[in-house]
Amino acid sequence: MKWWKYLAIALLLYTAVMGFLGQVPRLAILNETERNLYFHVPMWFGMTIVLAASVVNSLRYLRNPSSRLDILAHESAKTGVLLGVLGLLTGSLWARYTWGTWWTTDVKLNCAAITMLIYLAYLVLRGSVQDEQQRARLSAIYNIFAFAVAIPLLFIVPRVASASLHPGMGGNPGFSKYDLDSHMRLVFYPAVIGWTLLAVWITEVSCRLAFVKEKVYEKQLDKQTA
């Protein structure tokens, strides 16, 4: 096992223990739910990073097609979807206890939902093309196109939007205080690194599985032709 995997385990254990037992400021309405900062936010960090990896691999595929790059792009996107779904679930749970509803019309929530839709569409596209090279090329093109559209969505629109209930926005003063709390930072930064490493780890394992499957398939083909 590589050293960074031990680091991931250590950081996530630390996050889980300190995240639930550590000190958090007492704030009205939020109460203990602000511990979600250690889980919800890092998941979006991890998602953004693996999705960026996916689009980089798609770009590399178009320049220089190989099944390895296609698998890398596909598995990264799948991990991104997994983390995105977890991010939505943790966010939704948090919203239930602070806003009193599972889902509401809010810029950031809509952007997150659209991103998920884009990557689910990417997976549907992959499923509907039979020919391998065709599938790899079409999905790479769609991946880059969708990413170029999602970027302004994810990073610019929520910052430009005037009204949002979501933390990190005006109208929710509790959060500027809590972001500055030094106890929370001690857990939050390791949590970001830990979850991101976990995302990379999951992607690595699923890529290896995909490579092995490809090899087994090729061997079977060889046997049939021989």
Partner: protein, 225 residues
């Protein structure tokens, strides 16, 4: 031949083809007209015109599905042999830009009569008419730019249910565009000051620029397959 001249020739070719097979355009117009008429009948149960926000939303939904139908025909109808022929005579960049321009004109030709019929049957609560028409023109442009490349991908993916695939791939890309468009047209509906619509219009133009640029860069790869 310069790129612009190529685009112009390809656009003329598409328009001529469309004009020769008027049934296709007629089919789309009939589809839009039929949808508008069905909405009119559905709302007549509640005694006439729908409330203004619903009026606006419904019109955009009708336009959205008309655009999906129109874009699905554009690139999908060309056979593999024809594609190979274009490949020898034109640059892929010219092909995609001409297709975007053609889709834009087609959508405009669908949307404006649709608005006319829609206002006739369901009333017209719009207070700032020029801005509303401008938002529809902008909508035709945005729908054309975002759907053209996606339609190309869906057409190559082929298979049964190519239409469903286009909707699945196109909708996530279109949602932000539609949200901005509906914001602008709602401002026009309520007759707000023009300044209020400036932000979303600029955002839409910027988004269109990104989408056209990305289509321009990616289409040569799509074309090759």
């Amino acid at each position: 031949m310069s790129l612009l001249a190529e685009i112009w020739l390809l656009l003329l070719k598409d328009l001529r083809l469309e004009w020769r097979q008027r049934t296709a355009l007629g089919g789309l117009l009939l589809y839009v007209g039929g949808t508008v008429y069905v909405s009119y009948l559905s709302f007549s149960f509640r005694g006439g015109a729908p409330p203004a926000p619903a009026w606006n939303a419904l019109f955009w939904v009708i336009l959205l599905f008309a655009a999906l139908g129109a874009a699905g025909r554009g690139l999908a109808q060309e056979s593999a042999g024809l594609r190979l022929y274009y490949y020898t005579v034109a640059r892929p960049e010219a092909v995609i830009l001409a297709k975007i321009a053609y889709n834009f004109l087609l959508l405009l030709a669908l949307a404006l009569p649709a608005l006319l019929l829609y206002s006739l049957l369901l009333g017209n609560p719009v207070q700032d008419e020029p801005l509303y028409v401008a938002s529809i023109a902008l909508g035709a442009l945005s729908l054309a730019t975002s759907l053209t490349l996606v339609a190309g991908i869906a057409a190559r993916a082929g298979q049964a249910g190519g239409g469903t695939l286009l909707a699945v791939l196109g909708l996530p890309v279109l949602v932000p565009v539609l949200l901005l468009l509906i914001k602008v047209s709602k401002n026009a509906l309520d007759g707000l000051a023009r300044d209020a619509s400036q932000g979303p219009i600029v955002a839409l133009l910027a988004l269109n620029l990104i989408v056209v640029a990305v289509s321009y860069l990616l289409f040569p790869f799509l074309w090759r397959s």
